[in-house]
Amino acid sequence: MKEEAQARWNSRLRLSDVVSESLLEVSRRPARTVMTGLGVALGAAAVVATVTLVSTIRFQVSDQFDARRATQIELRTRSGDTGAAWMPTGFPPDSTTVERVKGLSGVEGVAVVRETREQLSAAINQVLDPTMTPAQTKIYGLNADALDLLELDLFGPGWTEWHDRTGQRVAVLSSATASQLGAPDIQVGDRIHLEGETFTVAGLLNGSPRLPGLAGGILIPLGSVDRFELDTDRDRVIVVTAAGAAQQLATVLPIAFSPNMPDGWIAYAPQDDATLRLAVDDHLQTFALALGGIVIALGVVTIGNATLTSVMARIHEIGLRRALGARPSHIVTHIVVDAALIGLVGGVIGAALGLLATLSVAAVQGWVPVIEPRILAIAVVGGFLAGAVAGVYPSRVGSRLEPTEALRRE
């Protein structure tokens, strides 16, 4: 008989009714819903804003630095590196070697740089003004390709491969160097004197992003620098590569330069900072998630408190629902879903606020915002789950109320 009753009499609550009942409850007091969900909203906003801002900043950093950092290999001779006595390794590389290297897939060009051992005397219009004291400066020899490959910001023609091959006496210098020489308003075509030899100014240098040190000296063709005493320890070849190819090319370039003696060269590829940056990003993301988690935890407490207060205020309703056939588990479901919906509202508001913060910062900074839809979904779902968690304790309190007690307490 009891089994028969168990099977015959059974209260049932449809999922759609659970949702519609909660929607009614949540929408009945929209201001309370929003205010209650604000704790979760702030947490979600913190997570979304921090994660998307980290992504956005990372993108800007990558955009500005990756091209140079990942496309440049510096090669030095082993003797230059250690000072050990090595057989000559073919520096500077001849045109055949350069062409061979340029033929490698991913190589965009080869820049050769030499520099003088000492600060050499340089002067402007020394002939016209013999009383002027010459300044001391470094002199760098560069092949013609280097002017483009090293992305020199140059005003003036510079020099060509012919100037280089024939040892023409042309020079490029920055305005800072010109000032040092006492002629800040120097023009292309003016003459300067290096160790007593006259050179024609073929360009004014405004910047040298790949090798910033060049801006502090005077640049002349590689074929002309031999006339001065060179610091061979500083001899180097800069190979510019396609993006992402530097790491791999660094392993084969010594062979390409000296097939018979590859050990004579050392290739310095840029450190693969992607891993480092990822680690930094991970830390930032962890920080963001931890911060957001703390705020969300506060939000959970807020919703939990508000839900508990709401349960206390709705005791008679709980009694009524029990009288209408609700089981304790139905009461739990109602209260948890109510809280979860409030959390969901908080999550949506938080995602929107976080997104707005990132877009605002990006707009002010002129950055391209990087928004991962996944983080928005996580914020919304996280808000929902946080609300549900917040509703667990109040729901237990509500479900344990005796219906007679609940109906009487109103």
Binding site: M1, K2, A5, Q6, R8, W9, N10, S11, R12, L13, R14, S16, D17, S20, E21, L24, R28, R29, H316, E317, G319, L320, R321, R322, A323, L324, G325, A326, R327, P328, H330, E402, P403, T404, L407, E410
Partner: protein
Amino acid sequence: MSIPDPIVSCVEMSRTYCGSVPVKALRAANLTIHRGEQVAVCGPSGSGKSTLLNLLGLLDRPSAGSYRLLGVDTTDLGERPRAGLRAEAIGFVFQSFHLLPGRSAAENVAMGMLYTGAARIERTNRARHVLERVGLADRADTDVTRLSGGERQRVAIARAILHEPALLLADEPTGNLDTGIGSSILDLLGELHADGYTQIIVTHNDAVAQRATRRIDVVDGRLIDSGT
């Protein structure tokens, strides 16, 4: 479904509230109520009327004795079938209506079958039909907070009969209403009785008891059946 008879059968049913001083709210009650009866349970405050109603409505469990509802021994019945019986076999009318504010009359009435698993559309259609039955067809979409006391009690009665329960329990249904409106509510309950609803009405109002087909007095937790 044919309704078993008797609907209510209590044997030596008692309810004692535990505490520092145990209170015997209901003492060895023997009660049988047959299909179609309208029973008034009368007595002063604290006599045990509401305790009896709560036990009959399966909102509470007896401390001793047995209670059969529709032939089902509810004494040791689990919460699931007890809730099922409340959802499908019992209708409650409360003194203070217990309507949910912010919802329309139809939405409140539709709650009467919320826990029966009936589809929302079916509940809504039946709610409008029942509201028409209690004379509130034109107030179906009105927020219950904007209804008069009498209208609210009619909505509460409509909710209680939405699922055509075998047993309608009313706890002081006119307690919060003035005489005229209370009388109209009693008229409505009388009509429902005429329609075949078995009713137990708890009241301390003799006028209410006089309309019932049977009167039971509760004095210090003991039932005194005055018969029809």
